[in-house]
Symmetry: C5
Subunit: 99 residues, 5 copies
């Protein structure tokens, strides 16, 4: 799992059937100081069972964990999902929390 920030939602009309109606978010990895871990790390596309908003900080999980988060370990055509929306990290690590 990693910490990320939601930076957008993907729109796609031609996709495999299993993804119909699935909310797919683009998540950029962040470090504990709320900064991208590297300038140009590629963002992850994750299924979103929690209704996260653009700009929110989230926890993203992969593989079986992502499937379990979306209703049980079934046959899904995604392997990343948002499993939590982050309130904070303690000791306070994000800039706004340290102030």
């Amino acid at each position: 799992m990693f910490l990320g920030k939601v930076i957008g939602e993907v729109w796609s009309t031609r996709k495999v059937g299993d993804l119909e109606g699935k909310r797919l978010l683009v998540v950029e990895a962040i470090d504990q100081r709320d900064a991208p871990p590297a300038k140009k790390v590629t963002p992850v596309v994750a299924a979103d069972p929690l209704g996260a908003d653009v700009g929110e900080r989230v926890i993203v999980a992969f593989g079986k964990a992502a499937r379990v988060a979306c209703g049980g370990d079934g046959d899904f055509a995604f392997e990343a999902a948002i499993v939590g929306i982050v309130d904070g990290v303690h000791p306070a690590a994000f800039p706004e929390e340290a102030s």
Copy 2:
């Protein structure tokens, strides 16, 4: 899953039997601004059940998700597949959409 751009199709005559007749595309990762996430990140080779064209932006999934996208979680000799062709990312992130 990650956002990518199709940059070519692989031709291969000597390959394992399971890949016979499979369309294999080379996909370069892109970030939400349509730029490669790093100058020299190695591109991914992905099975293509959707008929994506060179130059199109796509979502690539791995592992079980890739197998499910290509007809069910069977015994396949690939572990990456295109699961969606991207119309856009909202809020508008790609340069042409922002204009």
Copy 3:
């Protein structure tokens, strides 16, 4: 598995049910000299069945290994877990041990 240092605990109220009551720690990778392997590698979020404290060095495992560490290979919505708290690396590699 990798060597890491616990740098914080994630607080999250909106999360998938399976993570209720789970202690989730933010772990930064370190090399054998106790330094981050790269300035801005993204930290990992890991379940913690051992009660590690912030600042402690730990071993983090992924996938099935993480599930086994947390009570058996069941359907969990996480895929990383702390499997050991590190006393040292021999030959002595951490600065304080070399002195």
Copy 4:
């Protein structure tokens, strides 16, 4: 899966039983322009069911795909395998093909 170039064969006498008699090749990732994606990306060690030669460009797959390529999804002590030998990428991407 990724595009790579075979740069050598590993010799090992002390190894787990399952790898006895297995041809293990060292494969360096290349991008679509036949260049290493980064100066010092670590090469992958892959089982070779196809008889690839040093210098040939190949497709390498991981996990279940690698096992399927080597005779079915059994209990193998490797998780990477060569699944195809590359004739070319179209549109022509390798330098020699562009000429």
Copy 5:
């Protein structure tokens, strides 16, 4: 799988039960020229069923392959293991072999 060099053994008294008595080595990735692939790539912690010594070059495998190497694909709390000790790479790639 990747090529690595053993740089130490991890000592840990507080760990999950499944790791009791397991030899855990710290392995730094090397390229075919015996150099680290990048200055600060994080080392991997791997179970060692072969008795590798510090300084030896090894092949490290992940996931099911690591479990198979340690006695069958059971429920283990590790996902990396040494599967071979390297005699050499041919064509000779390590500096001492080229001389």
